[in-house]
């Protein structure tokens, strides 16, 4: 049995039947990390002691014949924007290089309570700000499918870890596409749940009205299992929704017949790569063969999503990142004489170029004289973009699009042009703004063997349906390929 290529179901069955142990699984993954991660760079911190302790607990339960929890023994990787008690949590920033949280993020606590084994913390763009993982203050992440290319961002380490068999599943965070785009670039599944479906407690904040936690996995079913575990109301986050959590895993097998799928021309316009377009169009044909009805829809405000998103996200970031003042935790500049100098020098030294750029843009958009023209305007456009989806979802159950206009780009290709980098998020920011769920599922390869992602967007709290569509597509495409 190849211990590093199992699904969640496979892990659980193997541990339950004593074919292997949670300890052996964790060891096999650490060996794989040792062998692979030198060239990929997916992990920032490993927490082997904690992993072995959790694995041992599962093995003892298995030995005693106790019934095992849903994720028993599953080795997972956690994006380093999630706080983990006693384990360094950097958010990819020099400002938090030595930060050791005193508490656990709810999503992480729920995974561990369900038997998952946290192997370590994964690399990401600093404070989740970026689309290529090149903004990590520590080191690059290389795409496991082609080491000269980016893994996507900002959850690039999580996507790469899962793609390179260095974890069975990972958690990422998505503010403008940071789960779905790296999933697409690395050829794995990435799910952004509805805003509020998963608690944000313990997530190091970037833009609070847009931040989501969700899974990256190798199969749709695994994504459903992880969501099942982390979803649901949490008293520690007042924006976590008071909505019952359905059985995502058993819903996967329901038939697709009669499901109405919207296709919006705005997502196939100028800028989308021909190979991406062709792959997504043939995925849509396959979904039609599976019984879906294809319905043209219009999302006319899509061209305004990037400006609206980058104004709102940076405004919220400028406020959220005000807390990094070098007083209570985080980097403090040495040799300063006054408090205001402490703030400025600590922030100047602790933050990287992109974080400073976004703080400046957001502060500008919120400043006297520009608030109405930029911030308020963007929030009004957010309403228009959300109404587009409400209108479309009167006619269809889900909407299918490319996840990204291109496959993974080369390292360094966009790193000197911030606007070009922002435009890479054009198909993903819309769902964050509207608060609806979206999943990226692999739908083929370019001629250069780079993965392409199909994005499926659903109604508010209708993760079950997009998972079901993605699962049916995944099963059908495996049979035919």
């Amino acid at each position: 049995m190849e211990l590093t290529s199992l699904t969640i179901e496979g892990v659980r069955a193997a541990v339950e039947s004593r074919k292997t142990t949670a300890l052996a699984l964790a060891e096999a993954h650490y060996a794989r990390i040792q062998e692979q991660d030198g060239q990929i760079g997916a992990y920032l911190t490993l927490c082997k002691d904690r992993a072995m302790e959790h694995a041992d607990r599962i093995d003892r339960m298995a030995a005693e014949g106790k019934s095992l929890p849903a994720l028993a023994g599953v080795p997972v990787a956690i994006k380093d924007v999630m706080s983990t008690r006693g384990v360094r949590s950097t958010a990819g920033s020099k400002s938090l290089a030595n930060y050791i949280p005193p508490y656990d993020c709810t999503a992480v606590a729920r995974l561990e309570a369900a038997g998952a084994v946290m192997l370590g913390k994964t690399n990401c763009d600093e404070f989740a700000m970026g689309s290529s993982n090149e903004n990590s203050a520590f080191h690059l992440v290389r795409n496991p499918r082609d080491l000269s290319r980016v893994p996507g961002g900002s959850s690039g380490g999580s996507a790469a870890a899962v793609a390179a068999d260095m974890a069975v599943a990972a958690l990422g965070s998505d503010t403008g596409g940071s789960i779905r785009q790296p999933a697409s670039f690395c050829g794995v599944v990435g799910l952004m749940p509805t805003y509020g479906r998963v608690s944000r407690y313990g997530l190091i904040a970037f833009a609070s009205s847009l931040d989501h936690i969700g899974p990256l996995t190798r199969t749709v079913k695994d994504a459903a299992s992880v969501l099942q575990t982390i979803a649901g109301r949490d008293a520690m986050d007042s924006t976590s929704a008071n909505v019952p959590v359905p059985d995502y895993v058993s819903d996967l097998e329901k038939p697709l017949r009669g499901v109405k799928l919207g296709v919006a021309k705005e997502y196939f316009g100028e800028g989308v790569d021909d190979e991406v377009r062709q792959a997504v169009e043939s995925a849509i044909d396959k979904l039609k063969d599976l019984g879906c009805e294809i319905v043209p829809v219009s999302l006319p405000h899509t061209p305004y999503a990037i400006p609206a998103y980058y104004l709102i996200a940076t405004a919220e970031a400028s406020s959220n990142l005000a807390r990094y003042d070098g007083v209570r935790y985080g980097h403090r500049a040495a040799g300063v004489k006054t408090l205001s100098e402490t703030y400025r020098r600590s922030r100047d030294q602790g933050f990287g170029a992109e974080v400073k750029r976004r703080i400046m843009l957001g502060t500008y958009a919120l400043s006297t004289g520009y608030y109405d023209a930029y911030y308020l305007k963007a929030q009004k456009v957010r309403t228009l973009l959300t109404r587009d989806f409400e209108e479309a979802f009167r006619k269809v159950d889900a909407i299918v699009t490319p996840t990204s206009p291109t496959a993974a780009f080369r390292l360094g290709e966009k790193s000197n042009d911030p606007l070009a980098m922002y435009l890479a998020d054009i198909y993903t920011v819309t769902a964050d703004l509207a608060g609806i769920p979206g999943i990226s599922v692999p739908c083929g390869l370019t001629k250069e063997r780079l993965p392409i992602g199909l994005q499926i967007l659903g109604k508010h709290f209708d993760e079950a349906k997009i998972l079901r569509i993605a699962h049916a597509y995944e099963q059908a495409s495996q049979i035919s390929s």
Binding site: S238, P307, D325, R347, M360, K377
Partner: protein, 112 residues
């Protein structure tokens, strides 16, 4: 050019950033290029559109329910007993760059 050197200095001041000369020059260039692109929002007439500050603004209310149950993103009930303990002082200070006698120590605040 919309954003000048002076604007960058002013905004950096608001954001508690210092920025060196190179960074300031880069900010002038980048903010102008990004804001030029943002200006396409002005093609839209939003005079009768409400601002969306939260997802809950559009999805959060179920009018068929009563009281705080109406809100999907609801507040929890007031807790009178069994309150969660606050972080012990030692844990709260553990990450402090400089702590002393149960306090965060910082440079002088008031200049004479």
């Amino acid at each position: 050019m919309k954003v000048t050197d002076k604007d960058v200095a002013y905004v950096a001041d608001l954001a508690n950033l210092e920025l060196d000369d190179d960074e300031r020059a880069g900010m002038v260039r980048d903010l102008n290029s990004i804001l030029d692109y943002m200006d396409r929002l002005n093609e839209l007439d939003t005079s009768n559109v409400e601002a969306m500050t939260q997802v809950a603004d559009r999805y959060g209310v179920d009018e068929s329910k009563q009281g705080s149950d109406r809100f999907v993103y609801s507040y929890r009930d007031d807790q009178r007993e069994g309150l969660r303990k606050s972080l012990p002082q030692k844990a709260a200070l553990a990450n402090a760059p400089d702590a002393d006698e149960g306090f965060f120590r910082v440079p002088k605040v008031i200049e004479r």
